[in-house]
């Protein structure tokens, strides 16, 4: 490869590169930086990143400047004769010590940020985050508000195996039914855990990425600088729907936040009772009284919605599942047999399989969805009442 050929390559490539760069600046989707920070920690992360980036860029330019100078100057074709030196202690010491000092300089601000990140003391508000396959549950410990947060993007926009999907929402895959709502300027402590496998609660603009580990509770914190909507996703692979469990945090002015808390409490008066989780939006309105007797049609209608939100990813809208990992419900022994075992299975999950416990859903939701699976498709088994689920939960 002669110099000429390199020159030619560069000359030919230059317009293409220029076009690419111009295209990049014209189109906002070609992001090349960390997202705009929205919390003090995220701001520090942003600054640390650029500090270390500048260190790297300067070293890169100096070191590879020297290398490419050598490549062009000290080439045989340019008549270079090889020197014979092969060691120099002074130089070796210099290029060991200087990088070390640069690193010490970087370690200092990084240490300060680490210590600040780890200090979750004296929060204004504590939210317990529990990860499920594949949903988030947010429990506002002081305010008695508790709800699930699920992907809101319709599956018709996602699945394109057979035909082109529907037009995608602007926030495709980053939209949820019930976002986490927090007050601006308040220190929010998160207690993060998981119910089944390890998940990661990751909202880059708030500077948080915290694993939820089943059986352990870890804390972290953030303080949103200004009102806005901050989006993130599960960061740790957690099975089939890992790519489909987004996180949305809406930061509101404290008075709007207080109003939101009131609304939530009104919507779900039993929220304070530990097992009675506020329902996902579609059934929230009918989730109040577990002792009320429901009609079969009510149960089926509500159940279809719960099914679409929680079950469809594995067991499919057709009820055919994706065997052998995700069994069919249509015609299955469980969904057409006795009520008791099916209620127990849905409440407790099945060890060693992807079937998680759905005890986070309300009695009404569970009764509805179980009824739905027992009566939909070709299944003709009977309905299940919320009171039966309640009884099973106690037993």
């Amino acid at each position: 490869m002669g110099l000429d050929m390199i020159r030619k390559t560069i000359r030919n490539a230059a317009p293409a590169v220029a076009a690419l760069v111009m295209g990049a600046t014209a189109n906002a989707a070609y992001d090349v930086d960390i997202l705009p920070p929205a919390s003090p920690i995220a701001q520090q992360i942003y600054d640390l990143h650029w500090a270390i980036m500048w260190v790297c860029i300067v070293i890169f330019v100096v070191v590879f400047g020297a290398m490419f100078y050598s490549i062009f100057k000290h080439r045989k074709s340019a008549g270079a004769k090889a020197a014979h030196f092969h060691e120099n202690t002074t130089v070796e010491v210099i290029w060991t010590v200087i990088p070390f000092l640069i690193l010490v300089g970087m370690a200092y601000p990084a240490t300060k940020t680490v210590l600040e990140m780890k200090d979750a003391s004296n929060p204004d508000l504590t939210i317990k985050v529990t990860a499920y396959q594949w949903a988030w549950e947010y429990d506002y410990l002081q305010d008695g508000v508790k709800f699930n947060s699920l992907l809101a993007t319709p599956r018709a926009q996602i699945e394109e195996w057979q035909k082109k999907g529907e037009a995608k929402n602007p926030d495709y895959l980053l939209e949820v039914d019930n976002p986490m709502v927090v007050p601006v300027g308040k220190k929010v402590r998160l207690l993060v855990t998981a119910n089944d496998v390890i998940h990661g609660w990751y909202v880059p603009q708030l500077g948080i990425n915290q694993y939820g580990i089943p059986g352990f509770v870890k804390d972290t914190w953030f303080k949103a600088d200004k009102a806005g909507t901050y989006r993130g996703q599960c960061s740790q692979i957690c099975g089939k729907e890992h790519g489909y469990m987004p996180i949305v945090v809406v930061a509101k002015a404290p008075e709007d936040y207080a109003k939101w808390v009131k609304e939530q409490q009104a919507k779900n008066p039993q929220a304070a009772a530990p097992q009675q989780v506020a329902a996902a939006a579609p059934v929230a309105a009918v989730a109040e009284d577990p002792s009320r007797k429901w009609t079969a049609d009510e149960l089926k209608a509500a159940g279809e919605k719960v099914y679409a939100a929680n079950c469809v990813a594995c067991h499919q809208a057709t009820g055919k599942g994706m065997p052998p990992a995700f069994p069919a419900l249509d015609g299955s022994k469980v969904a057409t047999g006795a009520k008791g075992p099916q209620i127990a299975l849905v409440l407790n999950g099945k060890q060693g399989t992807a079937m998680a416990s759905f005890s986070r859903l309300t009695d009404a939701e569970l009764a509805a969805v179980i009824t739905y699976t027992r009566t939909a498709w070709g299944n003709k088994a009977g309905e299940v009442q919320p009171s039966e689920v309640k009884a099973a939960r106690k037993g």
Partner: protein, 530 residues
């Protein structure tokens, strides 16, 4: 290359024609060159296997939405792609080089334990079959990422047991290979070949072999605990039984971080052989290269926590692992400076091995820099498990380890086969690889900075443009590797006879004391090294 080597051998050494022929030659061989050849071909086959998986991944990620694969299969692809590339492609390639080169470079007749050498190789084949066959069992191949984290991995079916067994077998093979390499280097060196006269490739492999012996049993322990958790009612990693999923991460990464250096230290050795040869100037700072390699190896044992800054470890833990990780940049920097000082005032030519070595230095350094960015704990937390990390370790493992494997193959092909590869096609392979690679992986830094998690089959719309570029680059890179396969075969079948030392500046024993191709048995009488 093997058949050609074999034919050539007879011309040189008629008296050694008593070994079996045909398939039996390969099944029963105890010859380090035969075994090296088998390792290299095996590695190439696995490289293409893992490559097909990578291209399926990139095809699915070409645009948002699910077009080709379902999410479960996608997860299997990312998992097995990682396992196959690490354990099937990169590591066996280095063992192949070790087999071919170490005896020749230290002036030994063969490896210390030739029969064990045969066994080491023939173990990796069933392990690879187990890994690939796990795609076809009920439930599909392991889908938990190559890190095999519980509890997710406990949920899956029989493919996990196959994967665990494969890892056990590969570990046993690696340990046997390492014992062989260490014994060969320490005991079979030619008179006068003191430790500090050994070529750097031998040094880097000596240190790598110690790393392997230290960490492979740790991995075996971790996966054995997974196995007993799955089948025998233990709860090592199950909180409900008193265990801790985080413990698996600690054990895995205590293996996993040295593993990174197992894949990259021999690369340092290869590049340290090639740069002086084409600069026609001795390697700068030989002793400091040895010390830097050893420092990197030792430090690699105390940095594993940087893979798990997001588990919620205490501040003291985060700080310790951050400082230790940053420290690795110092000896790594020393190496890069030494290579450049070797080139400085040399008389350089730019044949394919040199191009791949320079590509290695530039791109591996970018991977090193992104490693430094990730070492800063707060920055790591926002980039953990994003595409930034994917970009980082592909810069280290593809443009690092893989490029130096290419460099080494082009460099030693004349010695292996007695034929010269086509310089024109070699250079074409380099330029296509380097361009395709950068289009594929550089944009992934941006995706990570913008918050795109890894191991997802589908993504939000703001990630679409860079993903499209990444997929285009991946396909350019992937298909360019067919050219490499062609180059190797074309070289073997050509009649461009290679000189005994086709490189002006190469001065290790295999070039100075042996003909090309290297005879089937070399150094039956040890050379004397002055």
């Amino acid at each position: 290359m093997s058949a050609a080597t074999h034919a050539q051998d007879h011309a040189h050494h008629d008296d050694h024609a008593h070994h079996p022929t045909g398939i039996k030659r390969w099944l029963f061989t105890t010859n380090h060159k035969d075994i090296g050849t088998m390792y290299l071909w095996f590695s190439l086959a696995m490289f293409f296997t893992g490559g097909v998986m990578a291209l399926l991944i990139r095809a699915e990620l070409f645009q948002p939405g699910l077009q080709f694969v379902n999410p479960e299969f996608f997860n299997s692809l990312t998992t097995v792609h990682g396992l196959v590339m690490v354990f099937g492609a990169i590591m066996p390639a280095w063992v192949g080089f070790a087999n071919w080169l170490i005896p020749m470079q230290v002036g030994a007749a063969d490896m210390a334990f030739p029969r064990m050498n045969n066994w080491s190789f023939w173990l990796v084949v069933p392990a690879a079959i187990l890994l690939v066959a796990s795609f076809f069992v009920p439930g599909g191949a392991a889908a938990s990422g190559w890190t095999l984290y519980p509890p997710l991995i406990i949920q899956q079916g029989i493919s996990i047991d196959m994967t665990i067994l494969a890892v056990h077998i590969l570990g046993a093979s690696s340990i046997m290979g390492s014992i062989n390499i260490i014994t060969t280097i320490l005991n079979l060196r030619a008179p006068g070949m003191t430790l500090m006269k050994m070529p750097l490739f031998v040094w880097t492999w000596l240190i790598t072999a110690y790393l392997l012996i230290a960490v492979m049993p740790v991995l075996a322990g971790a996966v054995t605990m997974l196995l007993t958790d799955r089948h025998f009612g233990t709860s090592f990693f199950n909180a409900a039984g008193g265990g801790d999923p985080t413990m698996f991460m600690h054990i895995f990464w205590f293996f996993g971080h040295p593993e990174v250096y197992i894949m990259i230290l021999p690369a340092f050795g290869v590049v340290s052989a090639i740069i002086p040869a084409f600069a026609r100037k001795p390697l700068f700072g030989y002793a400091s290269m040895v010390y830097a390699t050893a420092s990197i190896a030792i430090l690699s044992f105390i940095v594993w926590g940087h893979h798990m800054f997001t588990v919620g470890m205490p501040a003291a833990g985060q700080l310790f692992f951050m400082y230790a990780t940053m420290l690795i940049a110092v000896p790594t920097g020393v190496k890069v400076f030494n290579w450049i000082a070797t080139m400085w005032q040399g008389s350089m030519t730019f044949e394919t091995p040199m191009l791949f070595s320079i590509g290695f230095i530039c791109l591996f350094t970018i991977g090193g820099f992104s490693g430094l960015v990730l070492a800063i704990t707060p920055v790591d937390i926002t980039l953990h498990n994003t595409y930034y990390v994917v970009a980082h370790f592909h810069y280290v493992l593809v443009s690092g380890a893989l490029f130096s494997i290419f460099a080494g193959i082009y460099f030693w092909l004349p010695k292996f086969t007695g034929k010269m590869y086509s310089e024109k096609l070699g250079k074409l392979h380099f330029w296509l690889s380097v361009i395709g690679f950068n289009i594929a992986f550089f944009p992934q830094h941006f995706l990570g900075l913008a918050g795109m998690p890894r191991r997802i089959p589908d993504y939000a719309l703001q990630f679409a443009e860079w993903n499209m570029w990444s997929s285009i680059g991946a396909f350019i890179f992937g298909f360019s590797q067919l050219l490499f396969l062609y180059n190797v075969i074309e070289c073997i079948r050509s009649n461009r006879k290679a000189a005994d030392n086709p490189w002006e500046g190469a001065d290790t024993l295999e070039w100075t004391h042996l003909p090309s191709p290297a005879p089937y048995h070399s150094f039956e009488t040890a050379p004397v090294v002055k």
